[in-house]
Amino acid sequence: MRMNRRRGLLLAAGVLLASRLSAAETPPARIASLNLGADEILVELVGTDRLVMVTTFADDPEMSNIVGRVPPGIPRVTRAKMERLVELRPDLVVVSEFTEADFLHLLTTSKMKYHRVQMPSLDAVEAAITELGKAVGAEAAAGALAEEHRRRLSDLDRRLAGARRPRVLYWMEPYTAGRATVMHDILERAGAKNLAAELGITGFAPLPAERAFAADPDWIVVRKEGSARTALLAHPMLSRLAAVRDGRIVEVPGRYLSTLTHHTASTAETIARALHPDRFAP
């Protein structure tokens, strides 16, 4: 998940240049998506009829929330192949905030319009969906999707109001997510205190196991797929944490951690349900 939201002046300038479309243009009929997050949002906004390219990750059940929803006839790319892209003649190419500027220059030189999806924080998700909706001429669908995301997060706020906030460590050995990351925002919205932020960590950074052990988290959040839980149980030091011994480990499906989209509300809900089951009683 894109965790770091530190942005400098240059990035701010990039934001201004992000969308190369004007509102007066006709909606693009052929859209090429070059990142999984955009794949997921576009499938909701415009279906698959207007998609001419998606990422190979869209078919990966450990990463994608849209497995089986993109017809096999639509070409997949792991990393954009410029010749294939030109051949497909897209009206719009959707790229991420991590797409290199030199590649964007080549898109412009090749007379292709692009839209850059940027989500530096959880609060930016709805605006990014709305902007993408404008870019593809699906304002109403984008508005509804953004509103649904907002509603789900507001519902969490309402349910968790006044709840005691456990100290939670997000753990992708050896990394954790400190202040100024989207995971920090998610943990806060899920009714937790982000332990990494308490430890003074900013951004997505390695955390020595000794510090994690000394901090003694109430809960640990890990990715469900892979061996994160097993590794914790086998770790010579972290296995002795009370949270590990007592099974206070939240396993979040990888598809909720791979992208920052409307599905991010599911990430916060998954964590919140584990931390505060009493607030979700039927």
Binding site: R2, M3, N4, R7, G8, L10, L11, A13, G14, T56, R76, V77, T78, R79, A80, K81, M82, E83, R84, V86, E87, R89, S96, E97, F98, T99, E100, A101, D102, F103, L104, H105, L106, T109, S110, K111, G203, F204, A205, P206
Partner: protein, 333 residues
């Protein structure tokens, strides 16, 4: 004869690389676009898709592959003569490690994703800074020996690599991927401004190295012999290394790491054209250019879903070749 054959082969390989790619283009369309762009015939309506793929994407990429490959091969031949070491290549003197550090900084600071040409510029600045540091340190106690230059280069290289690693582990994974693709070497996403940089820096520097062919041959005999034959050893070596660093820095900044070219091309061509620099340098340029154009063609056509890393392909070919060559030379010895 071999030189002439290489000179004839390079244009053929380049034209072949224009014609082939991940998208099949009609031969007539290719001829039309090239003829039109080169002003050979009056412009007539061209298929815009063919024109864009060929002229905006493929042609600059192929030309870059040729210049990067040619440049790195010439640098390999020059360094092997200067250091009188058959396995000297462009990785010496900290150029590649400095370039990697510059690239990582550009990515970490967000410049690579927001400012056009920031990544190659930062890599070039890193390469030049590393070389300048190597020269300054090696000469800080008087005129540097070859041994001193080599060891200082290795030290600065290790230092730059260490800082790069420290920066990488503290960088979020999506940005790390940008660096990894760059480090693995490749020419996807490059365009005409990159070609202009290569034309301005690699070609003149390679031509200047060719001008130094005679002093380079004399230098390879040893410092005392060279001095007795009237060569200003220190100054000549400094000039040669500066030009080699300029080429390596530019090539690495544009294409990332493309290893083994500087080893394979001169080694393969020495038995054919001899060791005299006036033959070996142009032959190495042509051979290196052919090698990288073909490697890049493989990189962009072997996999449908992404370009394979160019540097990995040259290493996959280069490492076994080098081992075989090494075994052969050991047997002969």
């Amino acid at each position: 004869m071999a030189l002439l054959a290489l000179a004839a082969a390079l244009p053929l390989v380049i034209v072949g690389a224009f014609a082939l790619g991940s998208v099949r283009l009609p031969l007539g369309g290719i001829v039309d676009v090239l003829a039109s762009r080169l002003g050979l015939v009056a412009a007539r309506p061209l298929d815009p898709t063919t024109e864009t793929i060929l002229w905006v994407v493929r042609v600059p990429r192929v030309l870059l592959a040729a210049m990067v490959g040619g440049g790195l091969a010439v640098v390999g031949a020059v360094l092997q003569a200067v250091f009188r070491n058959p396995i000297a290549d462009s990785g010496l003197l900290g150029v590649s490690s400095g370039a990697a550090l510059g690239a990582v900084l550009a990515v970490k600071l967000g410049l690579a994703t927001t400012i056009f040409f920031a990544l190659p510029l930062a890599a070039f600045a890193g390469a030049m800074a590393a070389v300048a540091l190597v020269y300054a340190l090696a000469h800080s106690l008087g005129r540097a020996t070859l041994h001193g230059l080599l060891l200082t280069g290795l030290t600065i290289s290790a230092l730059a690599s260490a800082v790069t690693s420290m920066l990488l582990v503290a960088t979020e994974e999506y940005r790390v991927k940008v660096v990894l693709f760059w480090l693995a070497g490749g020419l996807d996403g490059r365009s005409w401004p990159h070609v202009q940089a290569a034309v301005l820096l690699i070609l003149p520097a390679a031509a200047l190295l060719a001008v130094f062919a005679r002093p380079l041959d004399v230098l390879s005999l040893g410092d005392e012999e060279a001095a007795s034959l009237g060569v200003r050893v220190h100054l000549t070596r400094l000039g040669l290394l500066a030009l080699a660093s300029l080429i390596t820095g530019t090539a690495t900044a544009i294409a990332g790491s493309v290893p083994f070219v500087g080893l394979i091309a001169p080694h393969a061509l020495r038995p054919l054209v001899g060791s005299l620099a006036r033959y070996l340098l142009p032959a190495s340029f042509l051979g290196g250019a052919i090698l990288v154009v073909i490697a890049d063609l493989a990189a962009r056509t072997l996999n449908e879903q992404m370009d394979l890393p160019l540097g990995s392909l040259t290493a996959l070919v280069g490492a076994p070749y080098f081992l075989v060559a090494l075994r052969g030379s050991e047997r002969r010895a």
